[in-house]
Amino acid sequence: MKNEAIKIFQKKKKAVLENWMKFQLADEGLREDLMSNEDLRSQSEELLDAFIDNLSDENIDDPANSAFEAIVDILSGISISRAKQGFSPRETGIFVFSLKDALLNVLQQEIKDPQELYVQSLKIIKIIDSFGISTFETFIKGREEVILRQTDEISEISTPVIRVWDGILALPIIGTLDSARTQIVMENLLQEIVESGSSIAILDISGVPAVDSLVAQHLIKTVSATRLMGAECIISGIRPEIAQTVVHLGIDLSQVVTKASLASALKTAFGLLQLQVVKKQKQQQITE
């Protein structure tokens, strides 16, 4: 014999959907700007169909049953796409939990015996709650994917190697330096040194908010690696606060050429390459 609740849902599928849509549309947080009502309806209908079709006597008491995997898959797809579209967790939560309200509403109308109603309601609540949990898991996973992609983008954007002069490279570092980023910075810089045959690299850290012992160690590593390649590395853009922290932390930067600004680093680089910047007028005077 089939479970009472399953029979009711199969019979009253339409009513459940209408109820569910009503709850969703009644919510203040409805995002018509992100998803049209038709899309929402078809999404809801797909999920409800899968839910009612898969519901059976064996699995109604067991929210972890493998028969629900198909529904969890659909839910995962929905919540990941919602995370990417920019729905808030609350809105996604309401989507799932309003289904519970709709189902319970229909059960209440159909089952008159309070004892039976309670037992059936409890089962439905358990199942929907487990759906809710897996929805949030995938929702957060979706969000994390977005964050991960953005982190990659930022680290790609923020490590350009600029050729400021023939034989001089500059690398302005913006943002915090961690191990992964230092690795990218180091690789980019060394690769560019090989490609351009530059003998001087200027590492500008005016965009680095703070220097701790780890960041300093990363900087020293980069400088050492550049030196091993046969190029000179100058660190520029050291702000007074950073100079203070470096000294307070007892970091030894004596083997590294440091300059206060990119301009003075460039000047030093010119000096190393035996280049000179001369004013045009002055040059004319000399020739005269």
Binding site: Q183, M186, E187, L190, Q191, I193, V194, G197, S198, S199, K221, S224, A225, T226, R227, L228, M229, G230, A231, Q255
Partner: protein, 132 residues
């Protein structure tokens, strides 16, 4: 047995490592090179490692050793053409090769060696300096 050739160019010795070094080969190179410096009285050694793509701590130490030994025998060592990956590996291994001179390529390495040797022999070079 496989050996790495050591070429003589005037008062310089030129070593180009074309294969990935293994420990035995590196040790042979070390002793050969020191012998060669003694025999020729070379003032500079240029080691080209642009073809070396793999390096370990032992190799790093051998290169450091060669530089120190040459220094004792009054010859400067320049390591040229190190690959980015090799440089990163050495730094990560904690072997920044502080005593070793480095250059981007053979041309720049030669220049650097000549300059270093000229610095060390001011009396002989002074005459050239005046005529320039």
């Amino acid at each position: 047995m496989e050996k790495i050739p050591i070429l003589r160019m005037g008062n310089l010795l030129l070593v180009t490592i074309q294969v990935d070094l293994y420990d035995r080969l590196a040790e042979t190179l070390e002793s050969d090179l020191v012998q060669m410096i003694k025999k020729t009285g070379a003032r500079g050694v240029l080691i080209d490692i642009s073809a070396v793509s793999i390096i370990d701590s032992f190799m790093g130490r051998i290169i450091g050793n060669i530089a120190t030994m040459s220094k004792i025998l009054d010859a400067e060592t320049v390591v040229v053409g190190m690959q980015p990956a090799v440089a990163i590996t050495l730094v990560e291994l904690g072997l920044p090769l502080n005593g070793v001179l480095t250059a981007l390529n053979v041309e720049k390495g030669m220049e650097l060696l000549k300059k270093k040797i000229a610095e060390e022999e001011p009396e002989e070079e002074e005459d050239h300096g005046d005529t320039e």
